[in-house]
Chain length 150, copies 2
DNA sequence: GTATTTGCAAAAGCTTTGCTGCAAC
DNA sequence: GTTGCAGCAAAGCTTTTGCAAATAC
């Protein structure tokens, strides 16, 4: 895998020709500050290429998923059934979604990568995509809760 | 947590009064051989209580989720956006979905439970729900693939 | 008689698709 | 002049909701 900001380069290096719209979409994903869903991606990408259509967004996402260059997240359906996207980076990491404040925490640990390996070996399973998500209460929200109960 | 076949008892033990329809739905979930989505659950539950309506299915699922007695899975969106349900049992386990044959493998390992604990501690996060899913190729399908390439 | 639950149909939300026209090599 | 991409609108699927009628206590 590659650093996040290399997504566009990596795609073009594979000899895939991109239209201006697709380039705008990919740049938007790689530079996004948060996990984008399709609608937000469309909105932001239009700042670079104003005529992008929803269908193009979904078709570009499909392409990047097939290439294994982005991952699709559910983020515990914190806000409905939409999907969120992020560049697949070197390290596996997991997502924690706070049901109270909506914050998303990313966390990487060697234990996760070891577990991935154990899963594959023990089940003779060739893992192509792996997703670990948890939902609950973040530190600030449990603290707030306790205070409130005093 | 409790054994799978105790779901109905556990709900009633909590003093929650159930209608015949809800009882039929819960029995269907606890006895199901596979992970059911809402439509399959409706179809099967109607064998016990023929007039159940789709809305009742969703409302019962919501109730059981709130009680923490069932978990909602995506199974890597192997077959669209539907959700699948299973009784929450004693041990955390994860799901592997084969993209080739559609098989779902369940796997439990102490490493997963340790990871859960590490996640909670390291992030001061109170985990209420955790879901680990992987997609790829199961043993039979990778074997088949190799054979085919020879 | 008050509080829940059900049924129905419609709405909602996100994603996919058919088709026509456009653009690129 | 083929091949692929974009735009548009409609359809598709699953899930949720409003409201009136039915049921339970």
């Amino acid at each position: 895998m590659f650093p996040r900001h290399e997504l566009l380069n990596q795609v073009e290096t594979r000899g895939i020709r991109l239209t201006a719209q697709r380039r705008a979409l990919i740049e938007t994903i790689q530079e996004a500050a948060t996990h984008l869903d399709a609608a937000s991606l469309l909105r932001l990408a239009r700042e670079r290429s104003p005529n992008i259509n929803r269908a193009t967004v979904y078709r570009t996402i499909e392409l990047l998923k097939k290439l294994g260059m982005i991952d699709e997240l559910d983020l515990m359906h914190l806000d409905g059934e939409k999907h969120y996207y992020e560049v697949r980076t070197e390290r596996d990491h997991l997502h924690l979604a706070c049901f109270a404040c909506g914050k998303i925490i990313e966390f990487a640990t060697p234990a996760f990568e070891r577990l991935r390996h154990e899963i594959a070996t023990a089940n003779q399973f060739e893992i192509q995509v792996i997703r670990l998500e948890a939902g609950g209460l973040c530190g600030s929200c449990t603290a707030g809760k306790k205070k409130h109960l005093q």
